[in-house]
Every structure is written in structure tokens, then in C-alpha cells.
């Protein structure tokens, strides 16, 4: 199944030069994380003496301009989503997104909460998801290792998908962000409607769909 994805992206398959560059990219990942979700508490032990992620060249950065890696640490509310999208768009390519815990995958325990979005992949491309509520630092570091392998293999190309299918992503973003404007009458949460989400996915570009299936299989 993974081969199929690679095959789909064959037109952007990496050259030898690109693979050299990918080595540097994987060995020097600078993170940007907004500590808005619960997963933020797993990061300090991952960074400091106990698990020491700096041995992989990873470290925190202050602004999206400088960062390579966007961490979505746990549940993501609609309000935060707006900031996340702006930050993601301010990051420079190549850039990667890691979703922490169940919430960015399917909403987790907040699946029916009105201010929380359920499927992060509908709005920005996710390169790596870590299941669990919350994942322990070991799992976090394991995920980073896997992400490094994918970067080296040229498979972590979410940013290319985003650029290619910007229309689809923007449409989804607009659909949910429009709600952040003040409304007086009670409204229906479009994203709690499984049928609607499924219809959005049906519109999704083939590559994005396949990426989703890869994840669900894994």
C-alpha cells in the first residue's frame, strides 16, 4: 500500500541531490509547538536530560519562520485551528506536521465537543500521527525516529500535497472557520455529522485519500 503512495508521487520523486539534502533535514529538525493541548506536558521530558531529543538534532524554535516541524499537541479547538493554519503557512518548506494523541486523528474523547475539530487531516496535511491518550515520551521519540526515516525516504511530503491540493484544504478550512464569526441563532456543527465528513473525504484528491488509508491500516 505504501508503494502506491510513492507511485502516486512519482512525478516528485527525489533525486540523489534531494536525498543528500534530506539527510540534513532529518538530522536537524527544529520544532514549533503551541502548548494549547494536553500533549505539551510530554515534551519537556522528551527534550531534557531524561530522553534528550537534542541528540537527534531536534530542538525548540521560537517562531514558525525558523521551524521545520509543527507539533499539534493534543486536541485542537476551532479557534486554535485558525492560528495553526496561519503558522503552518508561515513555515518554510520542507515542513512536517506531527499530530499528538488521538484527538488530531479522530477527535478522541472530544469527538462530540462542539469547539474541537475531529480530523486534522482535513485541514492541513499530517505527516505522522502518534496514537494514544497521551502518548508517552518513548512513543513521541519513536514517532520522531519514524518521521526521520520517512524524510530520508522522501515520503514525508505533506507540504507538497498541501500546495498541490490547496483548493480542497482551503474549502475545508473555510467551512469550519466561518463558524468562528459570531452567530446569534443556534447552529448545527457540520463536522459532527458523519455523513458530511464522509462527503468531504469523498471529494478529497486521490493522494490525500490514499495517505489516509495508509495511516488507518497502520
Amino acid at each position: 500500500m505504501e508503494d502506491a503512495v510513492l507511485f502516486n508521487l512519482r512525478d516528485e520523486r527525489q533525486s540523489a541531490w534531494e536525498s543528500v539534502l534530506n539527510y540534513f533535514r532529518k538530522r536537524s529538525m527544529w520544532m514549533l509547538y503551541y502548548c494549547t493541548g494536553c500533549g505539551a506536558i510530554e515534551l519537556p521530558p522528551s527534550m531534557t536530560s531524561r530522553y534528550d531529543m537534542e541528540r537527534f538534532g531536534m530542538g525548540p524554535m521560537a517562531t514558525p519562520r525558523q521551524a521545520d516541524l509543527l507539533l499539534i499537541t493534543g486536541y485542537l479547538s476551532v479557534k486554535t485551528l485558525k492560528r495553526v493554519i496561519r503558522s503552518y503557512e508561515q513555515m518554510q518548506e520542507p515542513k512536517y506536521v506531527v499530530g499528538f494523541g488521538s484527538c488530531p486523528i479522530n477527535g478522541g474523547i472530544y469527538w462530540d465537543a462542539y469547539p474541537v475539530i475531529n480530523h486534522l487531516e482535513l485541514f492541513i496535511p499530517v505527516d505522522m500521527s502518534i496514537a494514544g491518550c497521551m502518548p508517552r515520551p518513548q512513543a513521541v521519540l519513536d514517532a520522531f525516529q519514524k518521521l526521520m526515516d520517512e524524510i530520508q525516504a522522501g515520503k514525508a511530503v505533506g507540504y507538497k500535497r498541501y500546495r498541490k491540493h490547496l483548493d480542497w484544504y482551503k474549502r475545508n478550512q473555510d467551512a469550519v472557520l466561518a463558524r468562528t464569526e459570531a452567530v446569534l441563532e443556534p447552529w448545527e456543527d457540520p463536522f459532527s455529522d458523519a455523513a458530511l465528513v464522509e462527503s468531504l473525504w469523498n471529494d478529497a484528491p486521490a493522494e490525500v485519500k490514499e495517505m489516509r488509508e495508509v495511516r488507518h491500516d497502520a
Binding site: 539534502l21 540534513f24 533535514r25 538530522r27 536537524s28 531534557t48 536530560s49 534528550d52 537534542e54 541528540r55 537527534f56 538534532g57 525548540p60 524554535m61 521560537a62 517562531t63 519562520r65 525558523q66 521545520d68 518554510q92 518548506e93 520542507p94
Partner: protein, 298 residues
């Protein structure tokens, strides 16, 4: 014609300065990690970081940002041409006034480039950096003046040559008070704790670097590496007698830098006015005493 002959040497020194500076950065990070009982990044981590930065796309806010970024690194590299490495400079001169002022064009370039980004955090960081510069330049210059009084030369080559013949001739022993003053100033010059208020990532979002991305950040990294090379070499030449071979020279540079990193690892950050006041009060008065005792009057 003489200038053309100089070109290969200039090229060599450029890469030497950047290479050694990045190595210093890597060693410093490794050292800090060991102090904190971590494994830490490999010693070549800084090279990976810079190459990664250059491989990324980047944003610019206009020609001033490009110009400033180029000017900054160019200024620092040009300074490296005047700083003796093993009693030798490619330009044949080690004028201290040139070194002190050429470094400034690096800072001006940096300041200009980041201010042009339009993010107010950047000039905020720069204002702090310059205010700090107000604090450390004066003690540094006073100690250097004391050396000029003794050696009768404002050429760093001559000052380093005056210390040949073993550690007993080092100015470290001749100017012990001045050495302490310059060490304090050095901590501020390279912007390590307790003088890291211009970067302050959690406070002003890394100040000057806030809008730097991709190759701009890479150039800023190189700027810092050359700055480390130049400033450690300055101290090695001023106090530690230069060196007879490259390995010893670099060894001394590492020693100077790691000392500062050790302080960095255990200190907290000053507020900006506390920082300047501290520099003037301690580094300044020590340097003043050094200069007064050396000169023996006004």
C-alpha cells in the same frame, strides 16, 4: 596585483573562520549537554543545521533584508581577515581599531536586515543588543588601551608577538584584572547567559531572528559562528599569547569558549538595564583599575 595574490588566502580564512566557528558551536552544545547529563548532539551538529537551513525555502520582506543579511556576514568575515590566526593574517595587518569597527558593520547589517522585516520584536532585540554593546565595548576597549600603552602598538600581531616564549609571558599574567574584565565582557559579546536578553526566545521570540527563515537563518548561523571565531581568537591573541601551531590555537579558543558556556549553563538572565549596569560596574571598574595602574595617571 598584491590583492590578487591575497585572494586564495582570503578564501581560505573565510572557510576556516566559518568552519572553526561552527565546530566551536557544536562543541559548546555538546559540552552543555554533558553538564546537564545528556548525550547531546554530535559535535558536527552545527554543520548539519546550517546546510539544512540553506536547503530550505525562505521569505524576504524586501531588498533591505537581503542587503542587510549579506552585509552582516561580509562584515564579520572581513573582520576575520584582520584577526591573527597563529601569528598570521592574510592582510598582513592586525589593527585592533579595524577589528573593533569592522565587527560593527556586521552588527549594523544584521540590525538593518532584521529591522526591515517589519516585525517589532526584531528591533526590540536589536535595541537590547546595542544597549548591551554600550555596556561591554567600553571595558573591552579600556583593557586593549592598557595593552597599547605597554606594547606601544595597536596591532594585534605585535601584541601577540610580545607574549611569545611560554605562558609566563602571557598577558593573562601581566593583566590579570583586565583579563577578568574582558571575560565578563566576552560573555556579553557572544550573548550568552546572563547576557542573552537580546535573544530571549520565550520573551521576545528570539528577537533579531524572529523573521529569519531558510538561508537567512543559515547566514545568521554563519554570522554567529564567525563571531565566535573572531572573538575567541581576539582573547587568545590578547591574553593567551596566540599560538605556534593551529591545533594549539584552536585548543585555546575552545578553552575560552567552553569557559563561557560553563557560565552560561548555570546562570539566569539579567534584565537589560541590570545587564548594562552590571557590565559597567564590574567589568568597567576592573578595566578602569587595570588601565589606571598600567598608565599610572590620566
Amino acid at each position: 596585483m598584491r590583492f590578487l595574490n591575497m585572494l586564495p588566502q582570503l578564501l581560505g580564512v573565510s572557510f576556516l573562520a566559518m568552519g572553526l566557528g561552527l565546530l566551536l558551536m557544536g562543541l559548546g552544545r555538546q559540552f552543555t549537554a554533558r553538564l546537564q547529563r545528556r548525550v547531546g548532539p554530535p559535535f558536527y551538529q552545527a554543520y548539519l543545521d546550517v546546510l539544512k537551513c540553506f536547503s530550505k525555502t525562505s521569505i524576504t520582506h524586501g531588498f533591505v533584508m537581503d542587503l542587510g543579511t549579506i552585509m552582516s556576514l561580509a562584515g564579520l568575515i572581513a573582520t576575520a581577515y584582520y584577526v591573527p590566526f597563529v601569528q598570521w593574517t592574510p592582510t598582513g595587518s592586525g589593527s585592533l581599531v579595524i577589528i573593533l569597527y569592522l565587527m560593527t558593520i556586521g552588527y549594523l547589517g544584521m540590525a538593518m536586515g532584521v529591522s526591515a522585516s517589519g516585525n517589532p520584536q526584531a528591533p526590540l532585540g536589536i535595541a537590547r543588543a546595542l544597549a548591551l554593546m554600550f555596556g561591554y565595548k567600553v571595558p573591552l576597549v579600556m583593557v586593549i588601551l592598557a595593552m597599547i600603552v605597554v606594547t606601544g602598538s595597536s596591532d594585534l600581531l605585535a601584541i601577540a608577538n610580545a607574549q611569545q616564549g611560554g605562558p609566563s609571558n602571557w598577558f593573562l599574567l601581566k593583566f590579570p584584572i583586565g583579563f577578568v574584565a574582558v571575560e565578563i565582557a566576552f560573555q556579553a559579546m557572544i550573548g550568552e547567559r546572563p547576557y542573552d536578553m537580546m535573544i530571549a526566545p520565550a520573551e521576545i521570540a528570539s528577537g533579531p531572528m524572529v523573521e529569519l527563515s531558510g538561508k537567512y537563518l543559515g547566514l545568521a548561523f554563519l554570522l554567529h559562528s564567525v563571531q565566535l571565531y573572531v572573538e575567541t581568537a581576539l582573547i587568545v591573541n590578547l591574553f593567551l599569547g596566540g599560538a605556534a601551531n593551529p591545533a594549539t590555537f584552536f585548543g585555546k579558543q575552545v578553552l575560552v569558549y567552553l569557559t563561557s558556556m560553563a557560565v552560561n549553563a548555570v546562570m539566569a538572565r539579567y534584565r537589560i538595564e541590570q545587564g548594562i549596569a552590571h557590565l559597567w560596574k564590574w567589568a568597567g571598574s576592573l578595566a578602569f583599575i587595570q588601565l589606571l595602574t598600567t598608565k599610572g595617571g590620566f
